[in-house]
């Protein structure tokens, strides 16, 4: 299922603090619709933390404060009358390690739609087929939808998780290193799927694999935490081709050329 809205994010001076300690500060960027934005940077630079602000998953951890403004399609997502639970049906997420529910393939995919109140068997069947097709898994499992999700391979499970996230017709799909736990072939399949999905849906992907970012993304944002007593910052953001061939900031260049991991 693909999204209806435009799925545009506007971040302005976003900061994240855990209790008294500020982890990220001063992040401002625009995430365009129907394109892939990659967040890259060395580990610990806060890219996953920033990603989890976009669907307010950070709310689930106690003591986290998010400052600045994050707007989805012009509306502030941390606004007083915004329901985080409802937001997550519009901004989906796929995690680093595949985490299907211990249920059948079918039940995994319909979990989201059922939460939204879809009841009719025919509708659910249709959603299952289109979500699994969009995730490039339909042909492999269409005859065995009742099969337990844990019997699938790692790559298949991750595609199932993608299908599950797509089943709520989100406008944006957040992906936190979705291929890093998979073998190279499955990883490639995920990349192909992302390339197909971006025609209809905004994708924000966190990855530590620079080549992957260069291959699949339209826009790249580089984050860095320069020392433990300063919060992480967004160093540079721009067109992927430009970032990787002619970055403006010296630090970006250093990271891209592998001078630090």
């Amino acid at each position: 299922m693909v999204g209806v809205g435009t799925g545009v994010f506007d971040l302005n001076d976003v900061s994240v603090a855990y209790g008294k300690e500020t982890a990220i500060a001063g992040v401002s960027m625009h995430i365009p619709s129907r394109a892939v934005t990659a967040l890259i940077g060395p580990s610990g630079c806060g890219k996953s933390t920033l990603l989890r602000c976009l669907n307010r998953m950070n709310d689930e951890i106690g003591g986290v404060t998010v400052g600045g403004s994050i707007k989805l399609d012009g509306a502030e997502i941390y606004g007083k009358d915004v329901d985080a639970v409802e937001l997550r049906t519009r901004v989906g997420m796929v995690f680093q390690r595949p985490n299907p529910f211990p249920m059948s393939i079918y039940d995994n995919v319909v979990y989201g739609p059922k939460t939204l109140g879809v009841r009719k068997r025919a509708e659910l069947d249709e959603i299952v087929e289109s979500s699994l097709t969009d995730a490039a898994l339909w042909t492999e499992v269409k005859g065995s939808l009742k099969k337990h999700a844990f019997e699938l391979s790692g790559g298949q499970q991750q595609r199932l998780c993608i299908a599950r996230a797509l089943a709520t017709s989100p406008e944006v799909l957040l992906m936190d290193e979705p291929a890093s736990a998979l073998d190279p072939i499955s990883s490639q399949q995920i990349e192909d799927t992302i390339a197909d999905l971006k025609e209809h849906i905004t994708i924000v992907i966190v990855t530590h694999n620079m080549q992957q970012a260069a291959r699949i993304s339209d826009q790249t944002a580089f984050m860095l935490r320069e020392s433990m007593d300063r919060p992480s910052a967004l160093v540079e953001v721009g067109d992927t081709k430009v970032i990787f061939t002619n970055p403006t900031d010296k630090r970006t260049e250093a990271y891209i050329t592998g001078r630090f991991g």
């Binding site: 998953m57 995690f95 529910f101 979990y111 599950r164 996230a165």
Partner: protein
């Protein structure tokens, strides 16, 4: 030279201690086997269809023990009805909602202490609250409520531990799909934790079935008809065993041992069935 001697001494000490501690363990295992064996050996001759399904005759010295079996059955069902919803609910609260703090600590302390309260104290508690204050009188209901209080800590602990074993990945996935905390718990976490919860509950219930002291003053009569309402007094296997073994005017050892075997068999079957079911569920879900 001395070094080699020390090593020899250490080896000897190890062999000796292994023997001693091993003897403890094997003694314990042997004792268990002996206990079960004695019950089966002495009790088996009494078991017959009549023994199980017939009513007692001749002042309890002949016939069957059917009313005691029925009484224990209903007491256990009643215990389940009261203890499982509250126990599972409390377990959910502790595993999914409770914050670290003083109140939670006190709750946990209360549960741990409840587990250590002597069963006769529960009996007196049940007597004063359910029998006297709430005026249920000595009845199936009062007995079941009392046994439920006794069983609560076991179910709470089993529930909480089973919930904690469910990986947080699954909760994250559900929340990211736009489900509320509660829906996540009810649709994803609880079903995944169900095997452990069911097993723990059944084990707790099987223990309740074997308790005598709590029902001594709240539910039982030595001779009672089959219960028609929850307000009737009942017979129960452990109480029947106790009276027949210590106070029967005319000794009837075959009844006594038969009752013991039925009780132990019932308790063991419950426990074994629960464990077997849990193993089967666990094999399907490998975390």
């Amino acid at each position: 030279m001395r070094h080699a001697q020390r090593i020899r001494q250490a080896r000897l000490a190890e062999a000796t201690m292994k023997l001693i501690t091993g003897a403890c363990l094997f003694g314990m295992v042997g004792l268990t086997v002996f206990i079960l064996g004695a019950i089966i050996w002495r009790g088996a001759p009494s078991i017959s269809a009549e023994f199980i399904f017939a009513m007692p005759k001749d002042n309890m010295t002949a016939g069957g023990i059917w009313p005691a079996i029925v009484g224990t059955f209903w007491l256990t069902v009643g215990t389940a009805i009261f203890a499982i919803p509250i126990g599972v609910s409390t377990g959910i609260y502790l595993a999914e909602y409770a914050q670290r703090g003083r109140v939670t600590r006190i709750i946990r302390l209360s549960i741990a202490n409840m587990a250590g309260v002597p069963s006769i104290v529960y009996g007196l508690f049940g007597l004063s609250v359910f029998v006297m204050v709430l005026k249920f009188n000595q009845s199936l209901l009062a007995g079941a409520l009392t046994l439920a209080c006794l069983t609560l800590p076991v179910i709470i602990t089993a529930t909480e531990e089973s919930l904690r074993q469910v990986p947080s990945d699954l909760r994250q996935a559900s929340l990211a799909l736009g489900a509320t905390r509660l829906r996540t718990i009810l649709r994803v976490v609880l079903p995944a934790a169900a095997p452990g919860i069911v097993t723990g509950s059944v084990l707790g219930l099987s223990r309740a079935a074997g308790e005598t002291a709590p029902i001594l003053v709240t539910a039982v009569a030595f001779s009672a008809p089959l219960p028609r309402t929850p307000f009737d007094r009942v017979m129960a296997l452990p109480y029947h065993l106790y009276i027949m073994a210590t106070q029967a005017v005319k000794p009837a050892p075959h009844i006594v041992w038969g009752t013991a075997l039925v009780l132990v068999a019932g308790v063991t079957i419950m426990g074994v069935a629960a464990s077997a079911w849990r193993s089967r569920q666990r094999r399907r879900i490998r975390w």
